[in-house]
């Protein structure tokens, strides 16, 4: 489904974010990417979102070269991917409901679909009672759950989560991981970056370990080890 073919990203002579990275992700997999800060995890994800261009190599998404897409077609491509960030990135002037509805609106869904799907997505992340609150009125964990609901509401082919638990306490972290697992069980591919050992060990799924831009380990049932 996603295939990296000898991808390198070199910012300058002494700053290499990715160095000859190759790997594949199959549909319905749950893949974690671990590594120190600056190992290239975020660059890797930004590559898939076509927010970053590789210096050399190719990134494929469902057999298509991501970086060959025309600029004005990118938004259609991005709708196939649900993204979750460490800094949540909700729209501050929209309520939880509207934030999720916005993702559906831009995908051209009808008002009826929005009215039925948004509450369902909020229920999936256990936030049905907070749908009319603005992001500033929600806790960190709740905001992240709204972001997850927004990411899944369009039924994307893959969820990309960039350190979604970095700013959360252990209980909220477990909650987020449980939700991501549930999404994966329902059939969506999940790609997660983290440096939380507990999260990786409790998942018991595939782990790719990055170090200074290179893949140093790729275990089908990995543990966190650096």
């Amino acid at each position: 489904m996603i295939h990296f073919d000898k991808v390198s990203k070199i910012y300058s002579d002494n700053s290499t974010a990715l160095d000859d990275v190759s790997f594949s992700i199959s549909p319905k997999e749950f893949v974690s990417v671990v590594g120190h800060s600056g190992a290239g995890k975020t660059t890797l994800l930004r590559m898939i979102l076509a927010e970053e261009w590789p210096t050399s190599g190719t990134v494929f998404f469902q057999e298509r070269d991501v970086h060959a897409l025309k600029r004005h077609r990118l938004h259609e491509y991005r709708r196939k991917i649900g993204t979750i960030f460490q800094d949540v990135r909700l729209l501050p002037n929209k309520t939880a409901y509207e934030n999720i509805a916005f993702a559906m609106e831009v995908a051209g869904r009808t008002d009826d679909e929005i009215a039925s799907d948004v509450p369902y997505a909020l229920e999936l992340v256990n936030l049905a009672d907070k749908m009319l609150n603005f992001p500033r009125e929600l806790s960190g964990g709740e905001k992240q759950r709204v972001a997850i609901a927004r990411a899944i509401v369009n039924q994307p082919d893959i969820i990309i989560a960039d350190e979604p638990t970095a700013n959360l306490d252990p209980i909220n972290t477990q909650e987020i991981v449980k939700i991501l697992k549930k999404i994966n069980d329902l059939g969506t591919t999940v790609m997660l970056t983290t440096h939380n050992k507990g999260v990786i060990d409790s998942l018991g799924r595939r782990v790719i370990t990055l170090d200074r831009g290179r893949i140093i380990r790729d275990d089908p049932k990995g543990k966190y080890s650096l």
Binding site: T83, R89, E105, V106, D111
Partner: protein
């Protein structure tokens, strides 16, 4: 589909406007200043035009005829003058009328009236007062009068005097002043409008700068450029519309207050009546200007942040 999207863009634009109340207020106030300038320009050009018009009307050329010129001849000349495209109007003053005017002007001057009585005949000739459309055209009219054959009988000219040649310096100077005033006024107007448009544009850009992260999020969620830009353009139009209404309302007491002093000072143009009389024009210029300014500024400002 199209209608659904249009509805959503409108709703999102309205929400931007009132949920970012403070930013909206700042943008509206700055745009009000801009529209105020544009409105002021309309008033300025109206006053300038009417003042110049009044001054121009005071300029004319008088043709004094010999006493032996017959009324028919003078009237025929007046007719041919009226046929000229440069001539606005021609006023005929007969010999008798000229005498009456003269007597009236000197009614307290016994000596002059006495001297007049001593004369056997009315010493005054007929007069034509000629008014041109433009002050610069008097020269051509004067040339026409000099060259016309109908003015002579028995090889002697019937025209005694054309006072254009006495007034030539003054008329030339006035023509020059009017031309410069127009050029200068127009230049100032353009400069003022450009400056205020730039300020408005920058304010809207600043207002959108605050939203640049939001724009980034919208792109990541998969919103098309049109879908991101639409609500901001709607918000920009709302800024413009609110500023226009504010400006139109402010002009009401302002022109009312200024009406008396401007009427005395300048050529009798009452600003308040002018404003009410031309309200439709003001509405179109100010509301139209505000909407265009708001929409175009937003459009360009978002464009700036779409190419991250």
């Amino acid at each position: 589909m199209l209608w659904m999207n249009a509805k959503r863009l409108m709703r999102a634009g309205f929400m931007n406007f009132y949920r970012n109340g403070f930013v909206s207020l700042a943008a509206v106030l700055v745009m009000t200043v801009t529209l105020f300038c544009i409105g002021g320009v309309v008033f300025l050009s109206a006053t300038l035009t009417s003042t110049l018009e009044a001054v121009k009307n005071k300029v004319d050329v008088n043709v004094y005829f010999q006493t032996r010129a017959v009324e028919e001849e003078v009237l025929a000349l007046a007719e041919s003058l009226r046929a000229l495209p440069e001539v606005k109007d021609v006023e005929y003053i007969s010999r008798e009328q000229a005498l009456l005017n003269f007597k009236k002007r000197h009614e307290n001057d016994e000596l002059t009236l006495q001297a007049l009585k001593e004369l056997p005949d009315n010493p005054l000739g007929a007069i034509l007062n000629i008014r041109a459309l433009e002050p610069s055209q008097y020269e051509g009219i004067a040339e026409f009068l000099k060259g016309d054959n109908a003015l002579a009988r028995d090889q002697k000219p019937l025209i005694d005097e054309i006072n254009y040649y006495d007034n030539k310096a003054a008329i030339d100077r006035l023509t020059h002043i009017i031309d410069s005033a127009k050029t200068l006024g127009f230049g100032l107007i353009i400069l003022l409008v450009i400056l205020s448009v730039i300020i408005s544009f920058n304010t809207i850009r600043l207002a959108l700068y605050i939203a640049r992260e939001e724009i980034g999020v919208m792109r990541l969620v998969g919103a098309s450029n049109t879908y991101i830009r639409g609500p901001f353009v709607v918000t920009g139009i709302l800024y413009g519309l609110s500023a226009a209404l504010l400006t139109l309302i402010l002009f009401y007491p302002l022109t009312f207050y200024l009406a008396d002093s401007t009427e005395n000072f300048l050529s009798g143009l009452n600003l308040f009546e002018y404003y009410l009389g031309n309200f439709g024009l003001f509405f179109v210029i100010i509301a139209g200007g505000g909407i265009i300014l708001g929409a175009v500024s937003s459009f360009w400002a978002v464009r700036r942040y779409l190419h991250i």
